[in-house]
């Protein structure tokens, strides 16, 4: 297990020494190997615990924890990271040219931070200790901050700082929460925490609400996700923000009382966040900013799902995967248009883009299907949310209608956006030949997301989730 995780870490430091093409290929492979392993792990229902180092009280043991939940999150992280790595090559070539920088030397810097960013997220989901988790959270923040700072769009330095401050507040709040947990339990290893107290829970929750983000603290996200270089957006939005849900999920599995006690307000908060952001999507004219708002809306699903018992928890995980696939594809489509049409992001200047970039348009359809949960793995996410809803609230008409409305909104803005950008009278551009690396990775993700509703992949994922989540929750909420 540890060896598998070391591969991307080692490659992170080796890749900058290679030529760009080789570095890209090697980085992609270094994420595909753990991807295959995660599927194997899910299929075999593996639960791995591998100690790394035992630190003094109250920090406790650092260990690698590979259970069904880690594997499910890692599945999305590995696939998306690998595909976006491939996509980076042509995209960053375009970006460096636009910025007037020399390609090869810049790319070495870029690929290092990119790999570091992705690897830290991968390690985060396999961390068996809150401090270890926090360290990787901050590494991923630093790496992504630098990527935005160096290669972002618009007022990139300001945006990067803004992103850094917000996420750092989130990290700090969580850290204080973790330390409080440490002071009462004497350890931060998942398996030796008995209970998380109120203040600690509140701080962790608030921190992760900023990261997730919920309504209110969400204001940083449209800036950061829209102005980051597109491959970074394609990691930030699909993977990083959802890790907020992962942290809450881990805390929940250890000590679920907080979410259970404040179930109704959190549920309402999730619904309001999701609907709020859903309506905002309709009014955006910047493709990437639009996608950023849709991320907020989708993360509202996770907040809703947290309140819905066992099936809700499974829905959180599926929703993370489905959103990761969908949003990665969509950000890459936005980037495809940017790279081919010299920074074209304004939707009012688009229309009938299917005429010019048919492959990208088709990929965008796959992305929007993922958001709407149509014929993709997201379908199970929605199904489990609805089942959890009935399990938890019974036939509470207002709760049911609210969730149905949330689902309707995401379907509507998906296809409305598709219509605005890709259908209608062609806007009068030249047809271009799209670099294969700018569209093929999108289809790989899209096809895999569809395969996940059919056997055998559907059975592998969902059976493992049932075994993992249900077992932990039935045992009274102690992580392995």
């Amino acid at each position: 297990m540890l060896e598998i995780l070391l591969i991307p870490l080692v490659i992170t430091f080796l890749a900058p020494l290679m030529r760009p093409k080789l570095a890209t290929a090697v980085s992609a492979i270094s994420f595909l190997i753990p991807f295959v392993y995660t599927i194997y792990g899910l299929a075999e229902n593996l639960v791995v615990k591998q100690p790394i180092i035992d630190i003094v009280k109250p920090i406790g043991e650092f260990y690698i924890l590979g259970d069904q939940i880690s594997f499910s999150f890692a599945l999305a992280i590995c696939l998306v990271s690998a595909m976006v790595a491939l996509y980076s090559l042509p995209y960053m070539a375009h970006r460096f040219e636009e910025m007037g920088r020399e390609f090869e030397s810049e790319y070495r810097k870029y690929i290092f931070f990119y790999d570091l960013y992705a690897t830290s997220m991968l390690w985060l989901v396999f961390s068996g200790n809150f401090i270890m988790l926090y360290i990787f959270l901050e590494i991923s923040l630093l790496a992504s901050f630098l990527l935005i700072y160096m290669y972002g769009y618009g007022d990139r330095r300001k945006v990067a700082t803004l992103y850094f401050i917000w996420t750092h507040i989130a990290g700090m709040l969580a850290l204080i929460g973790f330390l409080l947990v440490a002071s009462t339990n004497g350890s931060l290893a998942f398996d030796s925490i008995a209970k998380i107290g109120f203040t600690a829970w509140l701080l962790i929750f608030l921190g992760m609400i900023i990261k997730l983000p919920g309504l209110g603290p969400h204001v940083w996200l449209p800036w950061a996700h829209a102005e980051a270089p597109t491959p970074v957006s394609a990691l930030l939005s699909p993977l990083t923000v959802g890790l907020g849900a992962y942290v809450i999920l881990r805390a929940y599995l250890i000590s679920p009382w907080f979410i259970k006690k404040f179930m109704v307000p959190i549920f309402i908060y999730g619904v309001v966040s999701s609907i709020y952001a859903g309506f905002m999507v309709f009014r955006q004219n910047d493709y990437k900013r639009l996608l950023a708002f849709s991320t907020i809306s989708q993360m509202g699903y996770c907040l809703i799902a947290f309140c819905l018992g066992t099936y809700g928890i499974m829905a959180v995980i599926i929703q993370y995967i489905s959103h990761a696939f969908g949003k990665a594809i969509l950000f890459m489509t936005a980037g495809g248009i940017i790279a081919n049409y010299h920074g074209l992001r304004d939707i009012t200047k688009m229309g009938g883009m299917h005429e010019y970039v048919p492959t990208i348009s088709n990929a965008a359809l796959l992305g929007f299907m993922n958001l709407g949960g149509i014929l993709t793995v997201g379908m199970f996410g929605e199904f489990f949310i609805l089942k959890g809803l009935v399990d938890t609230f019974g036939f509470d008409v207002s709760a049911i209608l609210a969730v149905i409305f949330v689902f309707i909104i995401s379907g509507l803005y998906s296809f409305y956006t598709f219509k605005r950008i890709y259908c209608g009278k062609p806007a009068g551009y030249e047809k271009v030949k799209v670099n294969r690396l700018l569209d093929t990775p999108l289809f790989v993700i899209g096809v895999i997301s569809i395969l996940f509703i059919f056997p055998p992949l559907a059975a592998i994922l969902l059976n493992a989730l049932k075994a993992g989540v249900a077992k932990i929750l039935l045992l009274g909420g102690v992580a392995p």
């Binding site: 905002m280 309709f282 088709n362 014929l375 059975a459 969902l462």
Partner: protein, 635 residues
């Protein structure tokens, strides 16, 4: 058996992949234009398998493991309904596929077209044969997606022939014309509104019973458990799916603008897939709910009464709209809505009348599918030949397009309910059922049915008359089509097969029931009335004096306002409000707060200037403050 079932759904999709990929690589090349034959071959495979299933498979279910841990599996059901419906779908799809080879020959986006066309068929077959509701939802979502893709097929919006409505016409704030991209959006948005409640209902059924196999769920026990209000809520949520897919009021608008798609798509959409899926599903679940045995369960009667009225009112609305329509395809679309309403109404009558009502509704579905597919295919041929969406043509045209002319005559008579062709017997069955209902629920259903039937035959005659006899002037461009007439000739001939089964009483479930209904006095009177209106409308297809009413009806009684004005206006108002809120938060966090902090910092820094007098002042102020506080304390 295993591979055959899988192949039934997979073959069309797999066979359409070559063109889908190749078209991206070489759009419009000669080689790419040959590949659609392969797609049609895929449809042909499905057709053969469906026929094989119809003829040889025993009734029962067949399971392929999917998520056994959750008690969710791919369960295929082979019973009376699915066998007939599957064969019907596969046959019509194959025939339309053949027709499409010629009709879409010069299209600019064949990869997209064939992929979604075949996916459409495969999805419908999945809906037809599935017993598991979650698996059915895969097909259901596939139908929605494929219909969106096909309705908006001509995404460029550059050809007037693909629009619905008169381009440029406005009524108040409403634009009364719709381009293809808008048609697609309307379809998917309406369907989404129905699918999500349905999805909830499926999840709720799963949560309450732990089982999603339609034939295994104990519906009666489920309904008793959740009570009358629960039953109504659950089932209306569930039926929102069928209602939107089958375009019942007030969700009918998308179906009218679905005519922006290629005619082949309209033909498939309106006969055997998509819209039929809604009614089919309602018939299928009623088949296993056994509503006629649930008279003691509260809520069920109310539910079926609601569906009965909704169906019949939608039927009347659709028929009235069709009376006022002058566009070939929109007229047929409105008539489809009307037929679907009749199917819903008739199927809902099963609560009072028993299973035979479902069988009659199903037979109406079959008859309608063949006849409507024929009419659409003829309409497509006419549009091709005259380059006009609106009804036009005269006897000269009829002479030149004999097959189309004859097919239209047969289809209109067979569908309109003129004795002694197919729909007469089926509609006689409906008359009989509604007559039976008079004692239980009053005469309203019967009145609605008869009124709808009269209007129905009138606009079918109008369609025939305005296209082949008394229509406007036209320009004819025949291209020597062979496959197109062949396809609709084949499809229309199937109404005779149905007729044969009805008249001879050889069908195992229909037996001689329809024959008996048809020979009753009441049915004969209605049949004569229908014939009279048909003949009248044939001779007088347009009445000038009534044209204001015609415009009102043809504008669909201004129901488009709901989709195009009322709902969007509310949505935009909310989103505007939300945007202002967002801007306020954004301004506060990213401008207001930093600026405030900056100014505070500036103030504080201004103290640190190094002059002694400033520090003296501060010290003095402190002393003063201490004195004031201690004075207050002393007082």
């Amino acid at each position: 058996m295993n591979w055959e079932i899988v192949l039934l759904f997979v073959a069309p999709v797999i066979c359409s992949l070559p063109i889908a990929f190749f078209w991206v690589k070489e759009p419009g090349s000669e080689r790419a234009r040959k590949l659609p034959i392969l797609s049609v071959f895929g449809l042909f495979i499905s057709f053969l398998i469906a026929i094989h299933i119809l003829l040889t498979y025993p009734n029962g279910t067949y399971t392929i493991p999917w998520l056994p841990d959750y008690n969710l599996n791919f369960v295929f059901i082979f019973d009376y309904l699915s066998k007939y419906m599957g064969a019907l779908t596969a046959f019509i799809a194959f025939m339309i596929g053949l027709y499409g080879l010629e009709y879409m020959k010069h299209d600019y986006r064949l990869g997209w077209y064939w992929f979604f066309f075949n996916m459409f068929t495969a999805s419908m077959l999945l809906v037809v044969y599935s017993d598991n509701l979650l698996m059915l939802l895969i097909g259901w979502e596939g139908l929605g997606l494929a219909s969106w893709g096909l309705i908006g097929h001509w995404f460029r919006d550059d050809d007037e022939i693909a629009y619905v409505g008169i381009v440029g016409r406005k009524v108040g704030p409403l634009k009364m014309y719709w381009p293809p991209s808008y048609g697609g959006w309307r379809a998917i948005s309406t369907i989404r509104v129905g699918d999500m409640p349905m999805f909830f209902a499926v999840a709720a059924i799963y949560a309450l019973t732990g089982n999603l196999n339609i034939s295994q769920i104990h519906w009666g026990a489920l309904f008793s458990k959740i009570g009358a209000v629960g039953t109504l809520f659950l089932m209306i949520c569930f039926l929102m799916g069928p209602f939107t897919k089958s375009a019942q009021l007030p969700f009918s608008e998308w179906l009218m603008t679905a005519m922006t798609g290629p005619t082949t798509v309209s033909a498939l959409l309106h006969s055997a897939t998509m819209v039929a899926a809604g009614t089919y599903l309602f018939i299928r679940i009623s088949w296993y709910i056994h509503p006629w045995a649930l008279h003691s369960v509260p809520g069920v009667e109310m539910l079926y009464y609601f569906v009965l009225l909704l169906g019949l009112i939608s039927a009347l609305y659709g028929a009235s709209v069709a009376i006022g329509c002058l566009e070939r395809k929109v007229l047929l679309a409105a008539s489809t809505m009307s037929s679907l309403g009749l199917m819903f109404g008739c199927a809902a009558a099963s609560y009072w009348f028993g299973k035979l009502a479902l069988i009659v509704a199903f037979w109406y579905l079959l008859t309608h599918a063949f006849a409507k597919a024929t009419l659409f295919l003829v309409a497509g041929h006419l549009i091709h030949a005259t380059h006009d969406r609106f009804c036009c043509g005269d006897l000269n045209l009829a002479k030149k397009m004999k097959t189309a002319f004859v097919a239209t005559i047969i289809a209109t008579i067979a569908l309109g309910g003129l004795p002694p062709l197919t729909a007469y017997w089926v509609k006689a069955g409906m008359d009989g059922i509604m007559h039976h209902l008079v004692e239980m629920v009053g005469s309203l259903p019967l009145d609605l049915l008869i009124l709808t039937s009269l209007l129905y035959s009138a606009f079918l005659a109008k369609f025939l008359s305005l296209n082949f006899w008394k229509g406007d002037k036209y320009h004819l461009h025949l291209h020597g089509e062979k496959l197109m007439p062949f396809a609709y000739a084949c499809v229309v001939s199937m109404v005779f097969l149905l007729l044969y089964r009805i008249v001879t009483g050889t069908d195992p479930l229909v037996e001689r029931h329809l024959l008996e209904f048809g020979l009753e006095k009441g049915s004969l009177i209605v049949g004569l009335g229908v014939t009279a209106t048909y003949l009248f409308a044939l001779v007088v297809p347009r009445i000038k004096a009534l044209s204001p009413i015609g415009t009102f009806l043809g504008d669909r009684m201004y129901l488009p306002a709901l989709n195009d004005f009322i709902v969007p206006s509310i949505g935009w108002a909310i989103s505007k409000l939300i945007e202002y809120t967002h801007r306020a938060i954004d301004w506060f966090c990213h401008f207001g707060l930093p600026e405030f902090m900056l100014s505070v910092s500036k103030r504080i820094r201004s103290i640190q200037v190094g002059y002694l007098r400033v520090y003296m002042k501060i010290a003095l102020a402190f002393v003063m403050a201490v004195i004031v506080v201690s004075m207050l304390g002393w007082l």
